[in-house]
């Protein structure tokens, strides 16, 4: 199995601040499901941001999909992002777009014809049990439904890696369960590598996973 993410002595800091991540050395291999936990403000989201190029490195090395994130240029970064699915705690759906169009977004960016994008979006909306709401707009949906739309969007273009930032942070127990099931299935059925940043690993999570923990700016491997 090749490494999808490779971090070595990685250091991350916001301008004029002490480093949030002082040292992170780990790797994530193809098809793995990885949880990154830590207390609030420990740098979990910052670490995730560095993986999709929204946070510049302050030191060390980080490779995502074999690409060095320190020296990545703008156009290369956009190309990389087209092969990653990202799920956010606040869903980040485009409010003025319909549910269907939101799911179509990665496919539109990839340049697929409209009918292909629509067919794939419908397939995924059925998968997340929201096909009946494809014409609705995000503000018309509940939090759980919006996160399922975000899940469908993250899966739409068959990414090699899904990065999820507290995907159930705003959801009730039932919606959280649905989201974890969807992530598990994506990992098992599509063999998509998944890295989730969260406060707690859900108790009912049954799939095989690895656990990384951030404490005092250092990333430790728990198991």
């Amino acid at each position: 199995m090749r490494n999808v993410i490779e971090a070595s002595a990685l250091k991350l800091a916001y301008p004029r601040h002490e480093p949030v991540i002082k040292s992170a050395t780990f790797e994530v291999r193809t098809g793995e499901f990885v949880f990154v936990t830590g207390a609030s403000g420990s740098g979990k989201s910052t670490l995730l941001k560095s993986m999709y190029g929204s946070m510049p490195l302050s030191g060390g090395e980080l490779q995502v999909g074999g690409i060095d994130m320190d020296s990545i240029s703008g156009s290369k970064l956009y190309k990389l992002r087209r092969h990653i699915g990202i799920i956010f705690q606040d869903y980040k759906l485009i409010r003025e777009w319909s549910v269907e169009k939101n799911v179509m977004l990665p496919l539109i960016i990839a340049g697929f014809p409209k009918d292909v994008c629509r067919a794939q979006a419908q397939k995924l909306l059925t998968h997340v049990k929201l096909s009946h709401k494809s014409d609705k707009y995000p503000p018309e949906l509940s939090g759980g439904e919006q996160q399922r739309v975000a899940m469908a969007r993250a899966l739409a273009h068959n990414p090699f890696l899904i990065l999820a930032d507290e995907p159930t942070g705003n959801l009730d127990d039932y919606s959280s369960q649905v989201v974890w099931n969807l992530l598990e299935r994506a990992n098992e059925e599509l063999e998509t590598t998944i890295l989730v940043v969260t406060h707690h690993i859900p108790e009912m999570f049954s799939a095989h996973y690895r656990h990384l923990m951030i404490e005092n700016g250092v990333v430790y491997e728990i198991h």
Binding site: K49, Y78, R81, I94, R95, L105
Partner: protein
């Protein structure tokens, strides 16, 4: 409703700017045509010795458009009949040269006096006769109106530009979220800013359409036509079809610049 408000916030300032530009062009054309007819009212005749050179006269003052030599043979032929050939020849030899001077633009009395002094100082020039119809008051009024309208238009233009800047700031907030999300999924600049540019181009087109419609209405309004007639202008002075090119250029340039500014100011959040 929200969508109409979105469009109007760009269309209205654009409409005002385009209307001001058209008004400036119209006033320029009207004053230009007046100047043309007024300058024809001047008849300047210069009497000079045979030693005087045409080039000396024509380059003497920047106000002079051209100098034409008046053919004196006609006069001579008429008086020849009543005198003997020697006397006629003598008259021809001592007869001065006459020049007619055409001006580049209309000038007030003071400027004409300066021109006269310039001309009279040319070696060989004996006299300068100026026959004029005084239009100073009408011309001054026209100039005053032109300046007033220019100031007024510049003010409206400035206010409209301020509104545009405000609109650009609103756009920054409105479109940032969408652009941010699209950027996170790897959308290139042209794709994530497409909506904004489409909106700007449509609004530019609508503003142009409204201005052209308003002008066409004015050109065909009998009251306006009568008014134009009173100031000696034709409806063509109010609106020409080649004005559309200028207005379209300005409209699209402002709209595209506004959208471009918002796109260039976009920075991905950390």
């Amino acid at each position: 409703m929200r969508s109409i408000r979105h469009h109007l916030s760009l269309i209205l300032p654009l409409f005002a700017i385009l209307f001001c530009i058209e008004y400036l062009m119209v006033f320029d054309r009207i004053t230009e045509s007046h100047e043309k007819s007024l300058k024809e009212s001047y008849s300047i005749i210069l009497v000079a010795d045979r030693s005087a050179k045409l080039s000396d006269i024509s380059h003497r003052d920047t106000l002079i458009e051209r100098v034409e030599k008046i053919d004196a043979e006609n006069v001579l032929r008429r008086i020849k009949a009543d005198m003997n050939p020697e006397s006629a020849e003598k008259i021809r030899s001592i007869m001065p040269l006459f020049f007619s001077i055409k001006l580049k633009r209309y000038a007030d009395g003071e400027r004409i006096e300066r021109l006269r002094s310039e001309l009279i100082s040319i070696p060989g020039v004996r006299d300068v006769h100026i026959f004029e119809k005084v239009h100073d008051r009408l011309y001054a009024m026209l100039l005053f109106m032109k300046i007033s309208f220019t100031v007024f238009s510049v003010l409206i233009g400035a206010i409209s530009l301020l509104l545009l800047v405000k609109q650009m700031t609103i756009w920054q907030f409105e479109h940032r979220e969408r652009m941010q999300i699209m950027s996170l999924f790897g959308a290139p600049v042209w794709l994530r800013s497409g909506v904004l540019f489409r909106l700007a181009v449509v609004d530019a087109l609508l503003a142009l359409l409204f201005v052209v419609s308003a002008l066409l209405y004015l050109v065909n309004d009998p009251g306006v036509v009568k008014l134009l007639d009173a100031v000696g202008a034709t409806p063509e002075r109010l609106f020409r079809f080649d004005d559309i090119t200028v207005l379209a250029g300005v409209s699209f340039a402002i709209a595209v610049f506004s959208a471009g500014w918002v796109v260039l100011r976009f920075k991905e959040e950390q």
